[in-house]
């Protein structure tokens, strides 16, 4: 038997599941990547705009405190801006560029300890502080990465969720495929294996699963039907030919060839076991006359009748045969004594003494002349045994005639 389909490395099940998973994961990754990049750039744009707004707001808010030289006023004006999500710090400088103060968020909210790449973070925005047309300082607003980090986290969660969904989907698709395609194909393969290995043309593959698989199974079954038909016809023809080659069609008894084979076989066995057997040779008396008088059809019927009368007299292991014309032979196996052969001869004569019905009006009695040869007493090969039996039969025939 082949190893099972499932256990092989590269089978349909794993190939389909793998390609589905690869395609789906690639799809999600590409989509997520594009989405992530787009979202990050969009977010970056918003962050830049936010920062510009924050810088303008900061410049407006610190204008009066700077004019009043009120440092805590600066802090108070800027703190709400810095405590928002998008601003990391605001540096305030005077007209000479000297830093007056730098405002940081009141509570240090780092969120993810994640170093974002430079291009994700908005550039610091510097905005001059103008009072009554004169520049009295500047604010520099540095953006935070909070929203970019949030974007990343959302994207990552999306990716994980997507992967999980793909995992479930892949398993579901693979199971479905297994049920509708792989298992039915394995069922077909298992049956065709048995058909081939055990020569069981009577087996049929199961018709389950997808339409295509069912159609394939149906075709295979039709093929098996035809093969089974052919096989049956061939067997019948073979049997008929065999019978025709080994049996005489008229008497229904084995023919000469078969008989000689059986005798040779029996000689071999008897030589080994020291057994003894008799070979009876028989010839119809006046059969030729009957043939001439009543015609071939009657002659054939007589031959068949002789066959039919001899057959019931045989014991298990004995073989009767028509050697040709009106010549018959019997192999009487396992002789206990010479008397056994004489007993068979006697019974044959008795059987033949009953007249045969030739047609509606006439009857005829066909007697047989019988000669016997005993193995191993009279010879140890079939030709000698036959010759001696033939000779003795002839002697009997001539003795009867005189």
């Amino acid at each position: 038997m082949r190893e099972s389909v499932r256990s092989r490395g590269n089978n349909l099940y794993s190939a389909v599941a793998r390609s589905f998973a690869v395609v789906a994961i690639l799809g999600v990754l590409v989509t997520l990547l594009i989405g992530l990049v787009a979202a990050l750039f969009l977010q970056r744009g918003y962050a830049d705009e936010n920062l510009r707004l924050a810088a303008r707001q900061a410049a407006y808010s610190v204008e009066v405190p700077i004019v009043f030289n009120d440092r805590s006023g600066i802090a108070e004006a800027l703190q709400p801006l810095v405590d928002g999500r998008s601003v990391a710090s605001i540096r305030v400088e005077d007209a000479q560029g000297q830093t007056i103060t730098t405002i940081h968020p009141s509570k240090d909210e780092q969120g993810l300890a994640l170093a974002l790449p430079h291009w994700l973070l908005p550039n610091p925005v510097k905005n001059p502080v103008v009072s009554a047309g004169a520049t009295i300082g500047a604010v520099e607003v540095t953006g935070g990465g909070a929203s970019a980090k949030q974007q990343l986290v959302i994207s990552l969660l999306g990716a994980i969720l997507g992967m999980a969904l793909i995992g479930f989907g892949t398993v579901a698709v693979a199971r479905r495929l297994d049920r509708s395609l792989v298992k039915p194909l394995q069922g077909i393969a298992a049956v065709t294996d048995r058909v081939r290995d055990e020569r069981r043309l009577d087996l049929r593959v199961p018709q389950t699963g997808l339409l295509e698989v069912r159609t394939l199974a149906g075709d295979i079954n039709n093929l098996l039907d035809q093969l089974q038909d052919w096989q049956g016809q061939m067997d019948a023809t073979h049997e008929a030919l065999l019978h025709r080659a080994n049996f005489d069609p008229l008497s229904g008894l084995p023919n000469r060839t078969t008989f000689l084979d059986r005798v040779r076989e029996t000689i071999r066995v008897a030589q080994r076991t020291g057994d003894s057997f008799a070979l009876l040779f028989m010839d119809g008396d006046k059969f030729k006359d009957a043939n001439d008088r009543y015609g071939h059809v009657v002659g054939d019927r007589i031959i068949a009748e002789i066959g039919a009368r001899i057959s019931p007299l045989l014991r298990v292991g004995d073989v009767a045969a028509r050697l040709g014309g009106d010549e018959f032979a019997i192999l009487v196996n396992h002789l206990e004594s010479d008397e056994d052969a004489q007993s068979v001869m006697r019974r044959i004569r008795d059987a033949m003494s009953i007249p045969m019905r030739i047609d509606d009006q006439r009857e005829a009695t066909i007697s047989l002349s019988v000669g016997v040869a005993i193995f191993p007493h009279d010879g140890s090969d079939v030709e000698n045994l036959l010759r001696i039996a033939d000779q003795r039969m002839y002697e009997e025939k001539t003795a009867t005639r005189h």
Binding site: V64, P65, V67, D70, A77, A132, A134
Partner: protein, 180 residues
Amino acid sequence: MGMAGVMLGLPAATAMMATAVAPLYVSSTLRDAVVPAAVQQLGAIATYARWTGAPHTLRVCITGQTPLSNAMTSQTLPDGRVLMPQRVSSAQTIAANCEIAVIGTLPSAERAQIIRAAGGVGLLTITDADPACEYGAMFCWRSTATGVTFDLNIAAVTRSRVRVDPRVLALGRRSNGASM
């Protein structure tokens, strides 16, 4: 802020309060060391104040007893307007002739007269002699440990026709305010 007296605005009541509660003279809240800072602060307030008619020259009328009277010199604001300080002795003419009134230590009746005159006209009032900022001036200087700051009298600011930038008001409104 004790605005009740100002709000009632009755001479009799004010006089009663003045005699009964407030001392007749309140000395300046400004230490000598912080006077230049106060002068500078006055310039900053003026920068963010707008008068109807947008006068180019802002007349600063100093009345009463105050260390500022010697320290004030004319100064040009960043937007080009000029602060022009001048000493006045008559309270009656202040509302008509000045944009800014610096009210030093004055008899309460005179002070009340200036405050009344300032209501509804374009006169910015600021005082260094009202630590509780309750007598009706819009701005009241107050010395702190490190400098000078100002309190606001919202009612007075509201009544006045001088418009002050809200960011200035936001600075002044703080109770434990900044220093200069």
